[in-house]
């Protein structure tokens, strides 16, 4: 569980919120001209980056308003909160993206784990 800062209500427990997935997606206006594959992409496919991700959140149990947030998906750290319809603010994020220093692809994928100085094979963190 973590604390999310609603732009209207302030800091509240995650239990009060619903995640709305990736933000800044614009519905294509030419849906009737699109191929099934392109339409399928728009409907079903989302970015899933490891690192900074802009997503929508809904304060469902509180003020019942939607807002946007920038979250580091590797650490669950929220970097910014901003109203719907606004462009994401520039943020400075400290990388590496994960506390354990895994490779920038996948999650917990030991086959491509980056060894940090002083870390030996077989060490679990």
């Amino acid at each position: 569980m973590f604390v999310i800062t609603c732009p209207y209500c302030g800091e509240r427990d995650q239990a009060e919120f619903v995640s709305g997935g990736q933000a800044h997606r614009t519905r294509p206006l030419n849906a009737h001209e699109m191929s099934d594959a392109d339409w399928g992409d728009w409907v079903f496919m989302r970015d899933n980056p490891k690192g900074i991700f802009a997503e929508r959140w809904f304060h469902s149990a509180g003020c019942r308003r939607w807002f946007n947030a920038l979250r580091n998906t590797a650490t669950d750290q929220f970097l910014a909160f901003y109203p719907m319809g606004e462009a994401p603010p520039a943020v400075e994020a400290v990388l590496p993206a994960t506390p354990a220093g895994e490779a920038p692809i996948g999650s917990g994928n030991d086959a491509v784990k980056v060894m940090r100085p002083g870390e030996s094979e077989g060490t679990t963190t």
Partner: protein, 208 residues
């Protein structure tokens, strides 16, 4: 207007108390209106009809002469007024706000108001919500929509002008009122409150 057939979802319940520590009671038929509209647009009508222009800050309330305006969202307020005065107020608001972008909905029977009082009232509530209800964090006049037990509701600490004599008020949807009532009794067991059996007959204990 009063009709003897009118029954609250909690009509079978009567006040439960463990003395000074905590008391749970229903504020039956407390009038509740939802008012949507830009705060600047609706303030003059509110001042005229309720005696207060509404709270200046988010998550706060303003009360005067038994009429309260609660901040629920950036363009949403609840008006909490004495029983049976809400219909007239809704009509007056609508005519006073004619031409102003707004809407008024009577939700008196949709939400049930359960009042909590006593020295341990906040500790009873704290078992059921992730919101910080300690009196230092949640001062008199404050409002918070949050999760309460398995439901969602609005917590409120009515100020003197509200003419409500509970320390905390919980607004919960009517279908969940009996559930919350029994859950509050269970949460108060530590302070000597007697358990209440849910109408549905379900049995549960709070994990401890």
């Amino acid at each position: 207007m009063s009709d003897a057939r009118r029954r609250s979802p909690l009509h079978g319940r009567s006040e439960i108390s463990s003395g000074e520590a905590a008391t749970v009671r229903e504020h039956a038929f407390l009038g509740k209106l939802v008012l949507r509209g830009a705060p600047g647009d609706i303030a003059p009508a509110l001042r005229e009809l309720t005696g207060t222009a509404g709270p200046e800050d988010a998550c706060r309330s303003a009360s005067s002469n038994g009429r309260s305006v609660l901040w629920i969202g950036p363009d949403e307020h609840w008006l909490v007024v004495p029983a049976e005065t809400e219909i007239e107020l809704a009509r007056d608001l609508d005519s006073r706000l004619a031409g102003v972008r707004h809407h008024v909905v009577d939700v008196t029977d949709y939400h049930v108001a359960i009042g909590l009082s006593g020295t341990k009232a906040w500790e009873v509530l704290a078992k059921l919500t992730p919101f910080d209800v300690h009196p230092k964090a949640f001062a008199v006049g404050a409002v918070a929509g949050t999760v309460i037990g398995r439901g969602q509701g609005v917590l409120w600490r009515p100020a003197e002008g509200s003419a409500l004599d509970s320390d905390y008020i919980v607004f919960i949807r009517s279908s969940m009122a009996d559930y919350l009532w029994c859950l509050l009794a269970e949460a108060g067991r530590q302070f000597g409150m007697t358990p209440e059996t849910p109408i549905g007959g379900e049995t549960w204990r709070l994990a401890r």
